[in-house]
């Protein structure tokens, strides 16, 4: 899986925001292409300098984590995780990530249509970084870009955590 095969954020954003930095690698696990487009829109809107890889089911996310563990490969900088996914749920993926020696500490933003308290509690218990219910208003939806930008910027100060 070559992360650089995924589409990039607009060049202007890259140049304006972080001219000297390598783009962040964000993995989005989302089976709804409409939401994937909106997430991309949100990241663009906030000039998040990133490579975005979209995985459309839970199994693929498992395979990615397993490959990273096996090959001691580079880990994404952030994962955006839907909960209701084909094959493996977002909770299963989160649990699997937290038990991975390499991916255990990367930020995971849960981004789901569920606003049920029990889902929020479970996500927190499994070590989710943020929990965001998908909003109906576009203006609200786009704010996820700002949230991710903030998390990544907090992250940038730390030394490179991937080999």
């Amino acid at each position: 899986m070559d992360r650089h095969s995924s589409s990039l954020c607009p060049v202007e954003a890259v140049v304006m925001q972080r001219p000297n930095q390598k783009p962040a690698w964000i993995v989005l696990v989302e089976d709804n292409p409409a939401d994937a487009i909106l997430v991309r829109e949100a990241l663009d809107e906030h000039g998040v300098h990133c490579d975005l890889t979209t995985l459309t089911d839970g199994e693929r996310a498992f395979q990615l984590i397993e490959r990273i563990d096996r090959e001691q490969a580079e880990c994404p900088d952030l994962v955006i995780l839907d909960l209701k996914l084909p094959k493996k749920s977002g909770f299963e993926i989160l649990e699997r990530m937290r038990s991975s020696p390499i991916c255990a500490r990367i930020p995971v933003v849960i981004f789901t249509s569920s606003s049920a308290q029990q889902d929020k509690d479970r996500a927190a218990a499994l070590g989710g970084t943020r929990y965001i219910a998908k909003p109906h208003r576009l203006a609200e939806f786009v704010k996820i870009g700002a949230v991710i930008k903030n998390i990544l910027e907090g992250q940038v100060a730390e030394p490179e955590h991937s080999p």
């Binding site: 409409a34 249509s113 109906h136």
Partner: protein, 382 residues
């Protein structure tokens, strides 16, 4: 004279005996008439189970005439699956026991199976020895049929109700997802193409955006209504109504600021209700008071007073008021008095309020005069 001789008394005694005899006969005849005219089947049998008497009620119930029945064994009324029952009853009677309101099945002459309630008591001779039994059989077939039908109807209703609630819940829940697509993507169109599609194009998009927004509000309210109907179980603890009002006012602060509403409140009590439900009550009622305001500045007074073992809450406004003929209707689901162009709303707010209040055993009502404001009252256990 009072000192009458025995010889003079003789005819009186005879007369008296005759009279007593006549009275006894009359009493017996009266009893026989009562037995005869009874709707219940009244049967007597000896200890061998041979039928000795058979009244009209028995003829009507079992279909055999007295001529056909008397002299026959009582087992002619038995249903095959309860064939052992009759000897058992006879054995108990022989021991001098009585059987009260025993519900069982018997077969009529035409083969119909009847459900009867039996009372069987021992008949004794003048020495007190049990010589037979009297049996009163009451036909409870119809009652039993009705009871079963009612039970069945109740079960069907409970199931239908549960299905409906489940349906409403999942409908409002699951419909949110595709609706979110419509909302966000119509907003996306608006954002990207506003002003580029001509006036008609802009209008189409605007109506789509607004329609999706109204739909979302409606689904949210439907969900809230179903939750108000199904929120079960958890033991209610007293909660502070002041805190619930604070929370509701915080959520309404946009509308309050925009309308310049002035809200006064007395100190509120502790009440037994889920906190979020009380918040919902305040939010809906105060929200309505602001929404349906007149030209005057909205003035809303929230108060509570003790009323027996309940608390009576009131929310008074100086809004447009409600004509008397509509005051009951407004609590119905989806019932709205105004076009959405004049006053928007889903028509669910007061239905939710009513459901929440009535589930606590309380009441909700309105007192209002058109053009002179409304006061909503509700009672809650405290």
């Amino acid at each position: 004279m009072s000192s009458a001789s025995p010889s003079q008394n003789q005819p009186d005694l005879l007369l008296q005996q005759l009279l007593e005899h006549q009275q006894a006969t009359e009493a017996r005849e009266r009893l026989a008439a009562i037995v005869e005219s009874s709707d219940d089947a009244i049967i007597s049998k000896n200890l061998q189970g041979i039928i000795m008497t058979w009244n009209r009620g028995a003829e009507r119930l079992f279909g055999y005439t007295a001529e056909e029945a008397v002299g026959q064994h009582i087992s002619m009324l038995a249903v095959p699956e309860r064939i052992d029952e009759i000897p058992q009853i006879l054995a108990r009677i022989t021991r001098g026991e009585r059987i009260d309101h025993y519900e069982t099945k018997r077969r009529a002459k035409d083969g119909r199976v009847l459900i009867v309630s039996l009372t069987v008591s021992p008949l004794r001779d003048s020495f007190g020895v049990v010589v037979g039994a009297s049996k009163i059989a009451r036909d409870v077939t119809e009652r039993e049929r009705q009871r079963l039908a009612l039970e069945k109807a109740n079960m069907a209703l409970t199931r239908a109700n549960a299905d409906l609630q489940h349906f409403a819940y999942s409908a409002s829940h699951d419909l949110q997802e595709p609706l979110r697509m419509v909302s966000t993507y119509s907003q996306m169109l608006q954002k990207k193409f506003d002003g580029q599609l001509g006036e008609i194009g802009d209008q189409c998009i605007r109506y789509t955006v607004e329609g999706a927004e109204r739909m979302r509000k409606l689904l949210d309210d439907l969900l809230a209504f179903t939750r108000a109907s199904t929120e079960e179980g958890s033991v209610l603890v007293a909660i502070d109504a002041n805190a619930a009002l604070d929370a509701a006012l915080t959520r309404l602060q946009g509308a309050i600021a925009e309308s310049g509403a002035i809200i006064t409140r007395t100190s509120l009590p502790m009440v037994c209700l889920h906190q979020f439900q009380l918040e919902q009550l305040f939010q809906n009622l105060i929200g309505n008071a602001i929404h349906y305001r007149s030209e005057k500045h909205p003035q809303i007074d929230v108060a509570a007073e003790r009323d027996g073992d309940h608390w009576l809450f009131s929310i008074r406004d100086n809004g447009i008021g409600i004509a008397p003929e509509y005051q009951a209707q407004i609590f119905e689901m989806f019932k709205r008095l105004h076009s959405s162009a004049d006053y928007s709303g889903s028509g669910m707010g007061l239905a939710i309020c009513q459901r929440v209040v009535e589930r606590t055993g309380g009441r909700i009502w309105v007192e209002s005069e058109l053009g002179h404001g409304s006061t909503f009252f509700f009672t809650l256990p405290g």
